[in-house]
Symmetry: C2
Subunit: 440 residues, 2 copies
């Protein structure tokens, strides 16, 4: 038998920590549902060829093999999904006849990545995704602000510091890069996307290798740090690209980005800002892109990213826009930094004491009456001395101990107050009914 | 790219079906939590050697292999868990310093079984488990009725026909088999456990191979069909085993079983019955065992089984009692038999119409006011003709359409009633706020 130990990259939580994780998940879920997003859940596996995608690019996938397989059965051909986008795309195609478009969906599930064990990264973690997809044609731009607003509201409901959502338009960036005569715009975008990791010098070096000239590199650098509202700066950038005056196509794209940021901030004041330096390396995105950072925890990287795409599926069709939260990374930080805690480790608000084993049925009857009114409780495991039963509650953070009798009495073990109570009518304070998650 | 198709054994649901699955899961969860059970969630994987167990018996396990592994890295040594008991046992050992005992836990997660694809059985499915475990020594018998009562209440809260819980005592059965001089009591129990599958003749044949004599086989058959309250029958069985009069040890076990059934029925009238014919093949169980059937759907087999064990972990210690519901099998039957349906396919109770794109902000403001009072809603995707917007709501089962204006008006599209309404105060009927799951 293997020794009992954590497996690196597969986080698990103690019961009071799981309460925090569930709180985060339920808060996201409720916000998504209030905005009309329907939940789907996909199987954990997809065919390996689908996970690898058309590009056949190497991916960190766990493939499945049946331990009992016949020697001639071969591999199962299945692998664990590494995100929720690949399965969502497959689901939309497979269920398209049963869906109504535009289709708003949320999906909160675990994903797996076959990272090298020693890298200390999560190999199993929760993601929470929202997307709106149309069936074909153009998706109206108001959906771009919608997903950002829904996510901003969801994140604002969590017990975390404020978030800042950075918004960019790949379309705008690409247009400017083309004005600079950059040949491989996607390659340049992928390099600029690494700004946070490899710094301006690393990006410059990569761009130089791609054949981008020094003045264009400078323009790209300045552009990526510019505020699109700064018309002077914008004029300078146009000039550096050899244009004088404002081009209509450039202006359309610049103003669309500003309008999007304004629309998000109208709904959730101050959350969004334009950031011409974020690019999201994925070619998949074709329009707006988002990244989200927690104030004071920027080292976590973007906790919620996404963007707009022309086509969810490889064959074309299903334009959409979506965002994805890295739930486990967020929860892990909340717990490790001690930002939040659950008020107790069990659901029970009340421990019903047992006077002696002969009268256990009377204690069960009290518990039942409380539960019928929605008050979670448990009955003491043994008819130990009351001091020991109170200790049992205290060690779990259960706030109330009920003493059956005539009259019944209930003790708030935090204050020590004890008073007569009726199992049919007594109510704890609303805040005490279920465990709460509180910021520390 | 692989074609888009279901993978046999990996069930998925349309959004309105997922509402049913979530309803089942949330109903179980709420009942468990009301009874003080704490939630845990374990990683999806365990070391393969732990999944195989001490017996090294062949199991239907999916092993994981990193697609990008270095040739010399070898297998990951990890496999997907096939139930929630193996991970729970490991979790209790690993977290024992952070848990309080007796520890009540519930766990609702997917499990995977590497069945042969052609067998048409689930290879990915939800289980919902509850267990109470002590740290060492004896667990008081009142926990045996507790888990059964919690499960009976949870199942009674679901939109399914009545359930019947069959209760047996392996201890009692084993004692009787030993009175009959059966040599391999566990083998005999495993055979009797197949009564439903291979019939009385199949069981007899197996017992004969095990060297059980004809009169003992007859006694075993009669015993398995007997009511332990039938004292005449019990006396006959004792006689057939060569004893006259009632033995104290036999009587203690018989009465303990009757007392347990009575305790369960005191809390949930009529749900439990003693059934000396169920055995649960697993050697793991050492005392009471449970199986649960849905009336009119006995062909599904037991939907909720469990029992008492002396030791959760291989090394000894952690005595407990638990039960497990096969959630996916249950949900699959509910859906395929058309027993239930969700009242709509999206969370939205209200579609806020859009008069024209210029006034979309006014529609957004209405939606926001409704959401702030907990009413899920969505805004129409385009400013189409109102007839088309009403159709948009109708196709999703959204009951209300809101027309912004002065005054605002809201239409119940089921009745056609339309009336002025204020976004700050209007309330739909409480039953319409969220999708409901109804028995058909």
């Amino acid at each position: 038998m293997s020794r009992v130990a954590p497996v690196s990259g597969f986080p698990e939580w103690a019961p009071e920590e799981r309460i925090v994780e569930r709180h985060v998940i339920e808060t996201l879920r409720e916000t998504f549902a209030l905005h009309g997003y329907a939940e789907i859940e996909t199987r954990a596996i997809e065919p390996l060829e689908r996970l690898r995608g058309d590009s056949d690019a190497a991916k960190e996938i766990y493939a499945l093999r049946r331990v009992l397989a016949d020697p001639d059965e071969g591999d199962s051909g299945l692998g664990l999904h590494f995100d929720l986008t690949v399965p969502f795309a497959r689901y939309v195609e497979e269920f398209s006849g049963r869906l109504t478009f535009p289709f708003r969906r949320y999906q909160i599930q675990k994903v797996w990545r076959g990272e090298r064990p020693q890298e200390g990264r999560f190999r199993e973690f929760y993601q929470a995704d929202i997307d709106i997809v149309g069936r074909s044609g153009e998706l109206p731009p108001h959906f771009e602000s919608e997903v950002a607003v829904v996510m901003a509201r969801a994140l604002a409901s969590l017990p975390i510091p404020s978030v800042r959502m950075h918004v960019n338009s790949r379309d705008f960036v690409e247009f400017f890069y083309r004005m600079l005569n950059v040949v491989d715009v996607n390659a340049a975008l992928r390099s600029v996307d690494k700004l946070g990791k490899i710094g301006i010098e690393g990006v410059s070096a990569e761009l130089r290798v791609q054949g981008v000239g020094d003045s264009a590199i400078e323009a790209i650098e300045v552009f990526s740090r510019s505020d699109p509202r700064d018309e002077k700066q914008m004029a300078w950038l146009l000039g550096s690209a050899g244009f004088s005056g404002f081009l209509g196509d450039f202006e359309d794209r610049r103003k669309a980005l500003i309008a999007l940021v304004d629309a998000i901030n109208d709904a959730v004041p101050g959350v969004a800002r334009a950031d011409l330096g974020i690019a999201r390396g994925l070619d998949y995105y074709t329009g707006v892109v988002y990244e989200t950072f927690i104030e004071g925890h920027e080292d976590l990287g973007s906790i919620c990213s996404g963007g707009r795409y022309d086509s969810l599926v490889a064959g074309g069709g299903y334009p959409g826009v979506g965002m994805s939260v890295g739930v486990s990374r967020l929860v892990s930080r909340l717990l490790s930094a001690g930002l939040v805690e659950a008020t107790r480790s069990v659901p029970s608000a009340v421990l019903v004491a047992v006077v002696d084993e002969e009268s256990r049925a009377a204690s069960n009857a009290v518990a039942r009456a409380l539960r019928e009114r929605g008050i979670p409780c448990e009955v003491a495991p043994t008819a130990a001395k009351f001091g020991k039963q109170i200790q049992h509650a205290d060690r779990r953070g259960i706030p109330f101990v009920w003493f059956p009798g005539d009259p019944h009495e209930v003790k708030d073990i935090r204050s020590g107050d004890q008073a007569p109570a009726d199992p049919e009518t007594w109510e704890p304070p609303a805040d005490d009914i279920w465990p709460r998650v509180e910021r520390r």
